[in-house]
Assembly symmetry: C2
Homo-oligomer: 349 residues x 2
């Protein structure tokens, strides 16, 4: 077969972490858009909102009152999807298979300030978020009924986030969910075959090729993965292999905070809007096994495609067949690389 023209030709790319293929239609960018537009996020918010159930001192559901917190603040989700006292039980009846789930859900307020985001917090404040993640991962990982800790953030109403107060979540549970389990399986296979870690090799090779790198610091690289599904999907990867965030030293923890802030700022600057996304960490399970295959990483899944108000819809063909994108990973990386690291709201007043 001939060498492929990734810039012009319809093609598919393989995600080696999940073994899924992604369809890329780079010729399709002239498509007009008459569909749904999103409301752009209002950028002016008060530093304190008396109606916000995450602001310090305010009341939450069920009569809980937030303390007058000054840094990060963690509490158990008042409407947790997982409960710790679920008795073990199952249904095992041919095509009807069900199993009970045990776990717990937490909310992490990143800042007492209602009007901030990771991109607008200072480095010290973002470092405090990283340290909170480390503490939670350590503590939850020690619980005997917790084998996987999923840390994530939903940002923006278009991502189903019901409150703009800067916060993330943790769902910790007994089982390893399907997506990290698949990533683990493929990292294991790769290690067995090559004697090295899949993502350690991947980040090294991207740093050499450069075309999908957005920025780097001493410890981390931010890039649009070759197999990106969402228009501006990115990953943040440590350059050296670490299985989880508690293997980071002090300098690496600050470097991760630096990468988070810079990634957030570039995203906000891309369409001059408070950029919506879901982001989350994939780390080795806390099941007591060694997991030398794991290289921890952060995925960002942002829905916007053309502007602050036009998003990509993963529907129809994507739900029934396979994911599809119109712009290339390389094109998206170039645009994010061109974005400033000074936040637009600070430069245009």
């Amino acid at each position: 077969a001939d060498k492929i023209d990734l810039k012009e030709q319809p093609h598919r790319r393989l995600n080696p972490l999940t073994k899924e293929w992604i369809k890329v239609s780079p010729h399709r960018t002239k498509r007009p858009w008459n569909g749904q537009v999103e409301k752009p996020m209002l950028d002016k918010k008060p530093a304190f909102d008396p109606a916000c159930y995450l602001c310090p001192g305010n009341e939450r559901a069920g009569g809980h009152k937030n303390p007058d917190y000054k840094g990060t603040f963690v509490f158990e989700n008042d409407f947790a999807a997982l409960l710790k006292d679920t008795p073990q039980s199952e249904l095992n009846d041919g095509l009807f298979q069900a199993k009970s789930e045990r776990g717990l859900c937490k909310v992490i307020c990143f800042s007492p300030r209602h009007d901030l985001t990771i991109s607008l917090m200072n480095l010290q404040e973002v470092t405090a978020v990283v340290k909170t993640w480390q503490k939670e991962f350590t503590d939850l990982g020690k619980l005997d009924y917790i084998n996987h800790v999923q840390i994530f953030e939903n940002r923006g109403s278009v991502m189903g986030c019901s409150n703009p107060h800067p916060h993330g979540q943790i769902w910790a549970e007994e089982i390893i969910p399907d997506i990290p389990a698949t990533e683990q399986k493929n990292q294991k296979e790769y290690l067995k075959k090559n004697g090295t870690s899949l993502l350690t090799d991947y980040v090294a090779s991207e740093l050499e090729k450069k075309e999908r790198i957005i920025f780097e610091n001493d410890s981390f690289a931010a890039l649009v993965p070759f197999w990106a599904v969402w228009p501006f999907e990115t990953m943040i990867l440590p350059k050296r292999q670490m299985r989880n965030i508690i293997e980071m030293n002090e300098k690496e923890s600050t470097d991760l905070a630096d990468a988070l802030k810079r990634m957030g700022t570039r995203f906000d600057n891309l369409f001059q809007t408070s950029f919506p996304y879901s982001m989350g960490l994939h780390q080795a399970p806390t099941d007591g096994e060694d997991h030398e295959e794991w290289h921890f990483h952060i995925h960002y899944y942002p829905p916007l495609l053309r502007s602050a108000t036009v998003k990509k819809f993963m529907v129809g063909y994507e739900m029934l067949g396979m994911p599809q994108r119109d712009i290339t990973a390389e094109g998206s990386a170039a645009r994010l690389r061109d974005c400033s690291e000074e936040h637009y709201t600070l430069t245009i007043g």
Copy 2:
């Protein structure tokens, strides 16, 4: 392990077609909602819209003019994601794997009337849609570079549908996309192990259990699958095994049209709105193989959760871990079963 309480206990269920697990949190229905609300669809539309590029006689992109069609109307997508003349080529470089794609994309107008939907068309008109699908499946399946024909419909602006004119799409291509390929693998395994087809057994067993059945006619059953992900996800399944829609006889074709219309009507009546969804057919590939494992079926993936304006967001934990739902499949089936089969716009004038 004890018998599980599927109504009250957090649990996960297995999708035997994909081998994926779905998290169910039935205890979580009291959660308040302060997040994004969708604009309800405007129900009053003109029968002909001079600005609609799908209405008869109007101009499309690139200077094409629609004929003055009276029934269904099929044309090649002016902005196709797949092209037939893509030369075969590939990139085969370790973690960087890409392959060229060949195929073609078509649009099917279901009706000349801009203001109709499947739920509002009469049985004869919906049967014409089924016949058009059959003709396209036959013709496309014969092309030597087409091995898979994906027929689907995106409905509603919340599903990225850019035009309310009743229409669907077909993406036909050389490869079998990941999702039907996975369904095929698991149907094959099941056949090998049990000597019967997975979905033939499944539909028979659901018809016996009854609690997830919404309605049936002589040839088809409509149900909420045990492993539903979306709040009101449903499937339409033929009661006897058929690999694709061209194996249907006349009576079965009309019965499928009947099922499509009744499903659409119940959906619209659920929240008294023109119900958004992606729906599509999964059928045996047209790759010349026998495929005795395949039992064709229709998936409906509708996003609405609580009302015409509040949808379920598959974000954060769902994107990083596994899908999650708050209401049970059995509860959803009961609500759809309670819906009338007379369209609300016809009864409340």
